[in-house]
Amino acid sequence: TFKSNPKKQEIMKWNGWGYSDSKFLYNKKGQAEFTGKRYRLSGMIIPGLREWMESTFSANLQHKTPAAPILNSSAVQPPTLNEAFLKELKSTGIPFSHDAEDRVFRSHGHCLHEIFALREGKIGRVPDLVVWPNCHNDVVKIVELACKHNVCLIPYGGGTSVSSALECPPEETRSIVSLDTSQMNRILWIDEKNLTAHVEAGIVGQDLERLLNESGYCTGHEPDSMEFSSLGGWVATRASGMKKNIYGNIEDLVVHIKMVTPRGVIEKSCQGPRMSTGPDVHHFIMGSEGTLGVVTEVTMKIRPMPEYQKYGSVVFPNFEMGVACLREVARQRCAPASIRLMDNEQFKFGHALKPQVSSIFTSFLDGLKKFYITKFKGFDPNRLCVATLLFEGDREKVLQHEKQVYDIAAKFGGLAAGEDNGQRGYMLTFVIAYLRDLGMDYYVIGESFETSMPWDRVLDICRNVKARIVRECKDKGVQFPPLSTCRVTQTYDAGACVYFYFAFNYRGLSDPVHVYEQVEHAAREEILANGGSLSHHHGVGKLRKEWMRESISSVGMGMLKSVKDYVDPNNIFGNRNLL
């Protein structure tokens, strides 16, 4: 079997998050440790994690739930191949495979139920074939053949979906072909006059930034998944990046899109920065979640790399004050590149993830800081919360900007809490995803989900959703109090984006994943009932599609359906997301 790009798959876990060499584990001394060399935390001991995990979840190192170590190929159903399609595909020379590992790797995203099943060695419906087109024209050929032979295509980018978008519909009887865009990963040109770059859609975030950086540019688009997620995936889900306050979300960054559909290729005829040519067809593409076609090439805005970056953090006496501060920052439209507000539980969690400090001086300083905040300033350690900040731009402006933001924070009782805390906060963004795998080794399952809402509802939604999670867990028989926490991750003129983190110890439950899903379902109902959105940037996939009609009205559904019916009447792009 041919594998064009074995690299990625071989350095990544098949049943967990991220790189195979990077994981949390408890060493022989029972101390938590993060392995590998890729991250700042790699190779470090995290002394507080064990106690935090034991006290938060009543987890116990004696009670392990290890994952199945290797994929048992015999558990994978043999592929349903469309011979005529296969024959013509071979003649194009485009690489493909029906190897079990290749198919399983592309059969899922990172929802809890998907990973949980893999860890248990349970494999459901997987694609029958994987193809690796190398360029736009390859995609055109594949789509033509799929239409000709009535084969179901599921585009696959970075595989970081958390909406069941990559799951193969079990009712699909046709041969399912996973169209892996990973080989389409080149920057085709950079236009310095217009500050744009034309890029193939299979490129993953970190490669895009690295390559642009070599020329002194960046896109500034940094979703938390940027190590693995792809440009095409961002377009297909309406992604949002951490630094959107400076660079914008994907819809602000995109200048031109090329997409291959069963009806042919859709693209605009020019690259004007804004047009009044009826409804923007880009908006049918962005958020289409692989139901209409494959995004092959994108022209994106680029910016010169920032001269200066500075992290920061602010401690607030309570979450309410923190939200009020963020709201004021948004009102004055002076949000830094990133501003995030963690609630008290997350603040404590962040503390638990502090690596062992090498110098006595640092730990002395930490102690002093803690004393100052809790004793001298009278902050209640069980109520205080922290905002992390990232400023970017030229040095002078950053310092000016920084002062402005800290001045606002001071009005809401906020105390500057140092660069380290801020920087650690952002670094943790990348390693936090690894932590779920550690939890799953010890009976703890969890996930995050997001929403957006108007400013006046931020506090209400945070409170009600967290409380709903706790109550539902109790009602559903969860034996231990869950972790139910949130943070505000983005600010807008008219509202904010909030992430919820939710995890619990499932000892004593016969079907923990089902319980998890019921609770998440209830939490989403609570979000919607309180005026939050169905999704800010994760998308709908199959996980949230039951709420689409109430979210966008029947007429709205009809509009989207009629587009689907026109573009893809035979449902070649049959992942059944969204509608």
Partner: protein, 658 residues
């Protein structure tokens, strides 16, 4: 915390035990008690604040700000003036809860209660549940309302058991009593005008004031669902205004949940017994005045038996609203802009209110005397002049005891004492209402009078006793009402073949007719019918197959009793219809005096059997029902009543056949 939607076997209802809280008061110092250390459990999300800060929060709220701007535009005055007006309203309204005042009341009420009552019994488990509820969520206390005493009693209990003291919505009429009014204010009462229909500003201040206290968990909010004291001891149709206000913060997502706690306060002897009867007969209610209260206090220095206070299961508004209310309807309008509640919300609040009143009713403690009142009133109506022999009375009471227990009544009948003693001690507590001579008992209708009196005066004197007695019987009507409606429906059905559908239709007619009179949840006809059938089948009164209803051998006595329960009301509504048929033009104001005159005339000529139809409560309810059914129409602005005589005639006929 969930409320059971479907009815369950009432016999299986679990209820807590009672403890007498006066016992300790009789054995230890009242002063020390009044000065005791008071540290209640508070709401977990509470940010403590002062009374003055509360007022500032109200005046600075977005909600009020919006209305102030609106009003100032409409009236063409500056918003400062309107704000001043709002501040004045708030000043008039606001409570000034002070622990010292509560301590003063704790001391004096201890003295008063010990003189008036034998015991004040509380279900302490209910208080534990309440404490938990107060800790977890904002709490609304919903006591039944039978006496002025109710809200002082509530605060007294909460103080005694170290629970958070409530703020209480009270009618403005108390404000007339200068000193007392201020005292009440300092013990947590806030005052609301009786009517402020179109006054936007007043409504905004009032609703915001209540919501802010509730949301912040400042204190449990207490109010009376029935709106006013029930003069008849029947629960009143719930008023929805305040319930609407306190549910709003949940519906709009401003709090995770709110606990509604129904509280049932049962008096063995009501302080206002004769007062209420006179009021119902048309002696106008004396305006509340401090001196009047003292006079009342003097009269009341006798034995009033015991009080039972039952704190019911907290009802979660969240659970009530689950799969009933689509909360996302509030997503598209800023929440500080006042909006008229949707039909969906109104019907939800209405249904919830009925459930809560029923929850109050279910935990009302009934004393043996209540059952005796049934028997004595029925005997009186049957004109058994020589009274009832004591042993017959006892036999009937025991029979009723068993029946009511099967129907789920919360009856406090001391089973370890011989029934005859239970009966005689009940009679002796209520000796003002009964006469016993030569082993025979009857209502004390022939009062000694000085000088000559007219037959009309004599009738009214009798009626005072009868209505007083009826107010005890009424305490148990909720136990019997559904079976009684069914019994009457069966009674009218063709004699040999009693078809279920026909009976259902008749039941439905009666239920609809009397839904202003009794607590019958709107829209629950089928459920009520099934509940009634279930009870009568279970107790061996009826057998019901697919299509027909059969009365069992021993069922006749029960059915006879149940039909007689409804009889006075049937006759009352019938006579109101008759009266209206004979009118040419009538205003709403004239209705009560005129119908009263009409009824007195007919009672004196012996054409009416039930003296209690003189109750203005019944007459008002009948009129309200006729208006609801469209037989009478109110002409707006003039207060005149437009009568649909064809319909009135036919209603009278239908009622007559029952």
């Amino acid at each position: 915390m969930r409320y059971e939607v479907l009815f369950e076997d009432p016999m299986l209802k679990k209820r807590d035990d009672f403890e007498d809280m006066l016992e300790e008061r009789r054995n230890s110092s009242d002063l020390r008690y009044a000065l005791k250390c008071y540290t209640p459990v508070l709401y977990k999300g509470l940010t403590p604040c002062k009374v003055s800060e509360l007022k500032q929060m109200v005046l600075q709220s977005d909600q009020l700000g919006y209305v102030i701007t609106q009003v100032s535009k409409e009236k063409g005055v500056t918003s400062d003036e309107v704000t001043g007006e709002a501040a004045a309203i708030l000043e008039e309204m606001a409570q000034r809860l002070q622990l010292s005042t509560v301590r003063f009341f704790a001391f004096t009420l201890s003295k008063v209660f010990k003189t008036l009552f034998r015991s004040i019994c509380i279900n302490e488990e209910g208080l534990q549940r309440l404490q938990q509820a107060i800790h977890n969520h904002p709490v609304v206390l919903l006591p039944s309302h039978r006496s002025y005493m109710d809200f002082l009693l509530m605060s007294y209990i909460l103080y005694t058991y170290d629970l958070a003291l409530p703020v209480i919505a009270a009618g403005m009429d108390f404000m007339g009593m200068k000193v007392v009014g201020e005292m009440l204010r300092m013990s947590g009462a806030f005052f609301i005008r009786r009517s402020f229909g179109g006054d936007k500003l007043y409504w905004a201040v009032f609703s915001e004031y209540v919501k802010i206290m509730l949301k912040n968990g400042y204190a449990p909010v207490e109010f009376f669902l029935e709106g006013t004291r029930s003069r008849t001891a029947k629960s009143l149709t719930p008023k929805l205004g305040l319930l609407n206000i306190v549910m709003d913060p949940f519906l709009k997502g401003e709090v995770f949940d709110i606990s509604l706690v129904p509280v049932s306060i049962s008096y063995e002897r009501t302080l206002e017994e004769a007062l209420y009867a006179r009021e119902l007969l048309g002696v106008p209610k004396p305006k509340e005045s401090t001196s009047g209260l003292f006079k009342a206090r003097k009269i009341l220095s006798e034995d009033y038996g015991s009080i039972h206070v039952y704190f019911g299961q907290p009802v979660s508004v969240r659970s009530l609203a689950e799969s009933r209310v689509n909360r996302s309807q509030f997503n598209l309008i800023p929440r500080h802009i006042p909006t008229r509640p949707s039909e969906e919300i109104l019907s939800f609040v209405n249904d919830s209110a009925y459930r809560l009143v029923r929850a109050q009713e279910e935990n009302m403690v009934l004393k043996p005397w209540v059952l005796l009142a049934f028997v004595l009133l029925q005997k009186q109506a049957a004109e058994e002049k020589q009274g009832t022999a004591l042993d017959e009375l006892t036999e009937q009471a025991v029979w009723l005891r068993d029946l009511s227990r099967q129907y789920g009544a919360f009856l406090h009948w001391p089973d370890h004492i011989p029934p005859s003693e239970v009966v005689s001690s009940s009679l002796s507590l209520h000796r003002g209402l009964v006469r016993i001579s030569e082993g025979r008992v009857q209502l004390a209708l022939e009062q000694e009078t000085r000088g000559a009196i007219t037959p009309e005066e004599e009738l009214l004197n009798k009626a005072v006793v009868i209505l007083s007695c009826a107010s005890y019987r009424n305490q148990a009507l909720n136990v019997f009402i559904r079976p009684a409606l069914l019994a009457s429906a069966i009674h009218t059905a063709a004699s040999n073949r009693k078809r279920k559908t026909e009976i259902y239709n008749s039941f439905s007619f009666l239920r609809n007719m009397f839904s202003n009179e009794f607590i019958l949840c709107p829209g629950a006809t089928v459920q009520d019918f099934e509940e009634a059938c279930y009870l009568l089948v279970k107790t061996g009164t009826l057998q019901i197959n697919q299509q027909e209803v059969l009365i069992t051998e021993r069922g006749h006595r029960t059915l006879a009793f149940l039909t007689s329960v409804l009889d006075p009301f049937l006759q009352g509504y019938q006579v109101v219809c008759r009266f209206l048929c004979e009118q040419d033009g009538l205003t709403e104001k004239q209705f009560i005096p005129a119908v009263r005159k009409f009824i007195i005339k007919h009672l004196l000529t012996g054409r009416l059997r039930y003296t209690e139809v003189l109750s203005s409560d019944l007459q008002k309810n009948a009129l309200a029902a006729l208006i609801r059914l469209g037989a009478v129409q109110k002409i707006k602005g003039y207060g005149t009543l437009k009568l649909n005589k064809v319909m009135l005639n036919s209603l009278e006929d239908t009622l007559g056949k029952k």
